[in-house]
């Protein structure tokens, strides 16, 4: 079974600075997807960035980028030029590409990292 581990329960960053959130995962599969989701107090999960495991190039979305180390099973999120609106819970998630017995794409989440942004 796949697992996702986020070892930082809380992180803090100064506005306009850069912060990196860590995520490691365990899987025996060779191809899969990895995601970072943001969950503000409204509780709605918002997709921040996604990575396909077979793509070696790290994904980027504006101020958000990842450092994907497949051999190390590591998938960290870097937020540059942090803004007050970035404060939220951040979840790392894994999704298999293989269809097991009818399941199609459920996400496996880590426990999350609470990010605070100081003005």
């Amino acid at each position: 079974a796949q697992t996702v581990t986020q070892s930082q329960p809380e992180m803090s960053v100064q506005e306009a600075e850069t912060v990196t959130l860590s995520c490691t995962y365990d899987t025996s599969e060779s191809d899969y997807y990895l995601f970072w989701y943001k969950q503000p107090p409204s509780r709605q999960m918002i997709l921040v960035i996604r990575q396909e495991a077979y793509k070696q190039q790290n994904a980027t979305e504006n101020r958000f980028s990842v450092n994907f180390q497949k051999a190390a099973k590591s998938f960290s999120l870097k937020i540059s030029d942090s803004q007050l609106g970035d404060a939220a819970m951040y979840f790392c998630a894994y999704r298999s590409k293989v269809n097991y017995g009818g399941s199609q794409g459920n996400l496996i989440f880590g426990k999350g990292t609470k990010l605070s942004v100081k003005p």
Binding site: V4, Q44, G105, N106, G112
Partner: protein, 114 residues
């Protein structure tokens, strides 16, 4: 609607009461997922629908949990004889189809069992 809609947003139930949580996915979305998020934890998968077919219910924690999507659009998650450990946020997500990686989430229902 423009997004995934869940109702109610908050529900307080007395222990032993039955509850029904509703999810209205994005129109045309084939895939629908339910997740349970306990306080301070990440969401955990409960069940998956492809149209009206419930293809995976491996995450349902007990036979008190039941989900349906009879016409392939709106889904209801029912919890019978609620217990305190059922207190959590219940999130619904939909996507266009099994091959689509982007899942759109609703704002969830926070269930408190007293």
């Amino acid at each position: 609607g423009a997004g995934v809609s869940q109702s109610p947003r908050y529900k307080v139930a007395k222990r032993g009461q039955d509850v029904a949580l509703r999810c209205d996915p994005i129109s045309g979305h084939v895939s629908l997922f339910w997740y349970q998020q306990a306080l301070g934890q990440g969401p955990e998968f409960l069940t998956y629908f492809q149209n009206e077919a419930q293809l995976d219910k491996s995450g349902l924690p007990s036979d008190r949990f039941f989900a349906e999507r009879p016409e392939g659009s709106v889904s209801t998650l029912k919890i019978q004889r609620t217990q305190q450990e059922d207190s959590a946020v219940y999130l619904c997500a939909s996507s266009r189809g099994p091959q689509n990686t982007e899942a759109f989430f609703g704002q969830g229902t926070r269930l408190t069992v007293v």
